[in-house]
Structures are given as structure tokens and as C-alpha cells.
């Protein structure tokens, strides 16, 4: 860790956290390393974007940060408090400080409750001394905050559109004035026109309340719009970590290149040939050496097959876990030289 990293005013520090699952029978000895030795920092008031394909472990990592799951090893420190070693009263305070918005707007709301009941529930639990009138006033404020109207308070989720339900989820997450909010694919299930509204709303709320976000998504264009710092995850590891400029203007990991190349081009921009990955192996055992080697254009090299590359700094604030970090052009050139 560099001095610059320590100087940043971080709200959350993740120290070599791992979460391994043992599926099936105990004796089978199979281990899924959903999150494998990940370290991260989240700076106050900033957005950390976490991108990767399904199965990369990004949601598991997000759940660990919120103590919705327990790590196999490692620590999470939230503003000086060790999240997994906290006392019940500390934990109660922590729960108010960190909130989450899920992907599926309908599944994450209780369809038997009204919008008012859903949004006021965190207040009922954590601020039981509030009177009913005061709670209603707070709900009305929250509804306005997320762009809904007072008429929505008595409605049930089924009467709302997907975008409106997602606004209710956001209002519920903000009810206790948290400092940290996880947005787990929060706009992936809503329509394009609504997605833009929600993204703008989230950026606006972040500014007003100095919120710190962990923005989990598979959509690179969305993460670029939302996050100052971006971590690319592959099979439980962070393979590239850097500022928005680092990641989008000078990406260095072959997996990041491939993700960028397969994102749909901007309207009117011709899609250019980019880094293409080999097919993912069907087995759930990790490759030896670099875990990305079975899909990497350069993965047949012997160092890639034997040595697991650590995250190394390639430029200020830009880290890559690859033996041959380089630009897409030079990677393509090397790959075609090797193929011939």
C-alpha cells in the first residue's frame, strides 16, 4: 500500500478478505473461492464501482461488507469499527450506517405492505420513540426526495412500475441517514429511459448527503458514469483497480480489455475488433498460476500457468494483477504473433 492510499480519508477498509464455500458433501473437498484475498478501500463520499461477470464474486463481496455473510478470513473496518468483531450495540449502530438497494425492484419489496409501511419500517425498528405523525412526515420527505408523490404512500408495490419500486427501495435505504449504500445491480432490471432517471437521482442524493457508494454492476458504461474508482473482479479476485481515467483510458488487464471490447458501441460508433476471450472452462476448479489463464489470449505462457500474479502498481493509483500488463493494441499484436 502506498503512502497516497493511506492519506485518503477512507470510510471502509477491506483487509485480505476471503469467502470460500464448500458445496455438496463435506468430504468431497471441493472449495469455491467466491472471494479470494481481496483488499480494498472506500473513500468517504466517493463511489467504488465493482464490475465483473456473473460468478465473479462481486455480490458476495458486497454482502460481506454489510455483514450479511461471514468471511472465511480477513477483516472489514467501517470507520474504525471492526465489522465482524463488533459488539451488539456497535452492530446496531453499524446497521443504520450501511444500507443496500437490490436488483429486482419487485422481489425486494414486501408486496403485502404499502409504500408508507415499507419506507417507515427502518424507522419503526431503529427509532421506536418516533410518534406516528412524525414518522408519516419523514416518509413524505423521503418520497419527495426520491421523486415520488405523497399519493404513492398508500399504494402497494404492484401498483407501481419497476422504476417507481426502485425509488421506494432507495427511499427505504435512506430512511436512517446512512453513510454507506451498496447498490447491487440497482438499475440492471429497469428500462433504459428509467435507468437514466435512477442514475441521475443516485448521483444527486450522493452529493446532497455525502454518501459513499459501492456500485456493483456488469455494465461498464454505467459504472463509468457512476464511479470514481473502479475494481474489476474475476473469479473472486480483483484483477484491475484504478481511477475512472486509468480504467477507461489506459486499461492494462486483458480481462478489462475484453469487457470493454464486448460492451455495445456508442450509437453511431463503429464496433472495432478488440480482445476476444477464449471460452470459459466448464469446471469449477481454479486454473493453476493465474486464474485467468484459460481465457487469456496470452495464457499459454509458462509463467501464467505457474505463478499467481499479485496486484501490482503500474501507475499512480492504478493496480493490475497480470504478468504482462499492456494496452489492448500491444496485447492484440502479441497474441497474433504468438498464434502464428
Amino acid at each position: 500500500m502506498t503512502v497516497a492510499d493511506l492519506d485518503r480519508d477512507s470510510l471502509i477498509t477491506v483487509e485480505s478478505i476471503s469467502r470460500h464455500f464448500r458445496p455438496g458433501r463435506r468430504r468431497s473437498g471441493r472449495v469455491i473461492r467466491a472471494v479470494d484475498d481481496v483488499s480494498l478501500e472506500l473513500a468517504r463520499g466517493e463511489t467504488l464501482g465493482l464490475v465483473g461477470e456473473s460468478g465473479s464474486g462481486k455480490s458476495t463481496l458486497a454482502r460481506l461488507l454489510l455483514r450479511l455473510d461471514k468471511p472465511t478470513s480477513g477483516r472489514v473496518v467501517f470507520d474504525g469499527t471492526d465489522v465482524f468483531a463488533s459488539t451488539p450495540s456497535e452492530l446496531r449502530r453499524l446497521r443504520r450506517e450501511m444500507q443496500i438497494v437490490f436488483q429486482d425492484p419487485y422481489a425486494s419489496l414486501n408486496r403485502r405492505k404499502t409504500v408508507e409501511q415499507i419506507i417507515s419500517f427502518p424507522l419503526v425498528v431503529h427509532e421506536p420513540s418516533l410518534g406516528r405523525a412524525e414518522r408519516s412526515r419523514r416518509v413524505a420527505e423521503l418520497l419527495e426526495l426520491v421523486g415520488l408523490r405523497p399519493e404513492h404512500a398508500p399504494a402497494h408495490p404492484r401498483h407501481l412500475s419497476g422504476g417507481q419500486c426502485q425509488r421506494v427501495s432507495i427511499a427505504r435505504a435512506l430512511a436512517l441517514h446512512p453513510r454507506f449504500v451498496v447498490l447491487d445491480e440497482a438499475v440492471s432490471a429497469v428500462d433504459v429511459s428509467i435507468q437514466a432517471q435512477i442514475l441521475n437521482l443516485l448521483r444527486d442524493l450522493q452529493q446532497r448527503f455525502s454518501l459513499t457508494y459501492l456500485f456493483v454492476t456488469h455494465d461498464l458504461a454505467v459504472v463509468r458514469y457512476m464511479a470514481n474508482t473502479i475494481a474489476v473482479m474475476y473469479l473472486g479476485r480483483i484483477v484491475e483497480l484504478g481511477s475512472r481515467e486509468n480504467l477507461f483510458e489506459s486499461p492494462r488487464h486483458p480481462y478489462t480489455h475484453a469487457l470493454l471490447a464486448s460492451s455495445p458501441p456508442s450509437p453511431g460508433v463503429e464496433q472495432t475488433a478488440g480482445v476476444v476471450l477464449r471460452e470459459a472452462p466448464a469446471s469449477d476448479t481454479l486454473a493453476s498460476g493465474c486464474r485467468f489463464n484459460p481465457r487469456c489470449p496470452l495464457g499459454r505462457r509458462s509463467v501464467c500457468q505457474t505463478v499467481d500474479p499479485p496486484l501490482q502498481t503500474v501507475a499512480s493509483g492504478h493496480q493490475v494483477a497480470c504478468h504482462f500488463p499492456q494496452s489492448a493494441e500491444s496485447l492484440l499484436a502479441e497474441a497474433s504473433r504468438e498464434a502464428s
Binding site: A196, L199, R224
Partner: protein
């Protein structure tokens, strides 16, 4: 190229005229989520229907397949499959065409495969539904098809079960089943929505190759304008049950003439946009078919709306080679 081959290229395989779909909502009331849709698909042509959820795009696809939900029915219009009207065919005859002449790829590959049967069995079943072939030949053809759709080592994987495949591989199996009888028309309803971006790009490339080789007419149903633009030759933008703009894919993208198409394009969060300014989002919600706005259905969300838009539904006009349903199209004789 011979004259005959050229003819086949430009042959109209599907023609839809004034299609309307009605759903009974109880107490004798009904709604019309599809309100007069007309278009044609030629062999080898890739057509996109782009719209948000609730715009009627999936119902359009289901009505072409005659797979509408129980309370829904085709209320008006004709569907010609290679010149033959099929919207009023008895179900027994339609069953022979479905999967044979016209087939559908669903969004979710897990729910379109039977988890209790091997993928090979399911592809073989699709083959024997349209062709009288022996077991051995069906199996050989299944393996060939799985190879065509890019499944690695198909002779080894043919007896595996759906849960042993990744999402992308499952979708390849579903595509193999859909193309096994060489249909004239292939409908792909959000085929890659549930897949990762890297997988999505590869599946779309494979699909493009297959339809080019077999000269199928393709209808891609999607909410993703970017995907439609990169895959399709022509695009229909659907809003509140009607095509509000139709034209060449590149042309619609670069010079949209309907305010909705333009707003939709501007609201996309794409990789090259400026991150310091907010995205130009479309305000409000897409209309519900239960309470359609009067006049032009887009007027409550439209920045160009005038008085006439609230009272009169716009008819189709030709602007810059696009069909547009707008009183004040962009690039037309403006307001």
C-alpha cells in the same frame, strides 16, 4: 449470383398487416397492448423491434407464433408467412408451422430447457417434431447443430444436462433447437438479456453467422437500442403498442425523426458520454395500456408537444426515409 438466388434474398418471408392484440381484463372490459402493427421481413433480413417493457413488443412476437396467453387474442390484422395467412389457422395446422417455419428464442435459457432431460434429447425431440428421422440420425444431426451454434466438443456434451452448462451455452442449445428445421423466420426475444456482456457479444456474432448462412429472416426483440443497432438492418421503435418510427438501423440511430427515438437515444448511458453532466433522462413513465393518454401516446413525456398532440393521434408520415408517427417530427416541417 444467379437470378434465382437474388430472388431468394429479397423474398418476403413474413408480412404483418394491422396487427392488434386484445387482452380481456374482466367484467367485459379489455385493453389493446398492440394497436395496429404492420411490417415485413425478407429472407436474410435482420429486423429489430425496440421498446421498453409494456410497449407491446413481446406480445407482438407471441402473436406471430400464436402463443398468446389465455386471455389475449389477435383482434385484427393478418399475418402472412411466405404468403400464407396464419393468424386464423386452426391450432392443429399452426402447430406444424411453429418451430418449423417460424420459431422463437426466449429470453431465459434455463426456463426454456427441461432440467430433467439431456440437452441432446431435447434437440433430438425438436428435430423429430418436424422430420421423420431415426434415432441415430436425429442424434447425429443434434450433434451437428450443437457444433453449428458453437458448443465445444458437442459429441461429448450431448448427453449432459442443462445445469451442467453455463448460461451462454444453454442459450446456444436453445438456438440449436430453434433453427433445427431451418425456419423462414426466427424471432429472438431478448436473447442475451440474462447473459454477461462478453457472452452476449459472442452469442450475437454466432447468431449473425447462422442467419447469414441459412438466409433466415430474423426479428430481434430488445429494449437495448445499442444491441439492435449493431445487429439489425432495420429498426422499428415501439411505443404504447404502435411502431412510432421505422427505418434503416444506422439511419434511425444517427437521425431519429420521432422525439421518443431521440429521447431514448439520449438517455442511454454509453461508454463515450461526458460523465460530468447528468444524462438527459425521459421524464415520467411509459404509459399503461389501461390508461392510454389521449392523442399521441407520447405527448405527456414529449418536449415538442403542442395542443394538437393532446387531442389527435398522429398518422404515419415519411421523413428522411423513415416512417414516423409524429405531428412535429425532427427534421420535418417543424412546429
Amino acid at each position: 449470383m444467379t437470378v434465382a438466388a437474388t430472388d431468394r434474398l429479397t423474398e418476403t418471408v413474413l408480412a404483418v398487416r394491422g396487427l392488434e392484440v386484445e387482452i380481456a381484463v374482466g367484467h367485459g372490459a379489455s385493453i389493446r397492448p398492440v394497436r395496429g402493427v404492420s411490417f415485413e421481413v425478407r429472407s436474410g433480413q435482420r429486423t429489430g423491434i425496440v421498446g421498453e417493457s409494456g410497449s407491446g413488443k413481446s406480445l407482438t412476437a407471441f402473436s406471430l407464433m400464436r402463443l398468446l396467453p389465455p386471455r389475449a387474442r389477435i383482434a385484427a390484422g393478418d399475418v402472412y408467412l411466405r404468403g400464407r395467412e396464419v393468424s386464423r389457422l386452426p391450432e392443429s395446422e399452426m402447430a406444424g408451422l411453429r418451430g418449423g417455419k417460424i420459431s422463437l428464442i426466449y429470453q431465459d435459457p434455463m426456463s426454456s430447457l427441461n432440467p430433467l432431460q439431456s440437452v441432446g434429447y431435447q434437440v433430438m425431440e425438436a428435430i423429430s417434431a418436424h422430420d421423420r428421422v431415426g434415432r441415430r440420425e436425429a442424434r447425429d444431426r443434434a450433434i451437428e447443430l450443437l457444433r453449428d451454434v458453437g458448443l465445444p466438443q458437442p459429441e461429448r456434451r450431448v448427453d449432459d444436462y442443462p445445469h451442467e452448462f453455463s448460461g451462454g451455452m444453454r442459450q446456444r442449445v436453445v438456438i440449436a433447437m430453434a433453427i433445427c428445421a431451418n425456419p423462414d423466420v426466427l424471432i429472438a426475444d431478448e436473447p442475451t438479456t440474462s447473459l454477461d456482456v462478453t457472452t452476449q457479444a459472442r452469442i450475437m456474432d454466432m447468431l449473425a453467422q447462422i442467419v447469414a448462412e441459412r438466409q433466415m429472416g430474423v426479428i430481434l426483440i430488445t429494449h437495448d437500442l445499442g444491441l439492435a443497432a449493431s445487429f439489425c438492418d432495420d429498426i422499428h421503435v415501439m411505443y404504447a403498442g404502435r411502431f412510432v418510427e421505422s427505418g434503416g438501423a444506422a439511419s434511425v440511430l444517427q437521425h431519429p425523426t420521432h422525439p421518443y427515438s431521440e429521447a431514448l437515444l439520449e438517455s442511454i448511458c454509453h461508454l463515450d458520454r461526458d460523465v460530468t453532466t447528468p444524462i438527459a433522462a425521459i421524464g415520467g413513465q411509459p404509459p399503461s395500456p389501461h390508461e392510454l393518454p389521449s392523442g399521441c401516446p407520447f405527448h405527456p413525456r414529449c418536449a415538442r408537444a403542442q395542443d394538437v398532440c393532446t387531442s389527435e393521434a398522429p398518422g404515419p408520415v415519411d421523413v428522411a426515409g423513415h416512417m414516423t408517427e409524429c405531428h412535429f417530427p425532427i427534421g420535418g416541417e417543424g412546429p
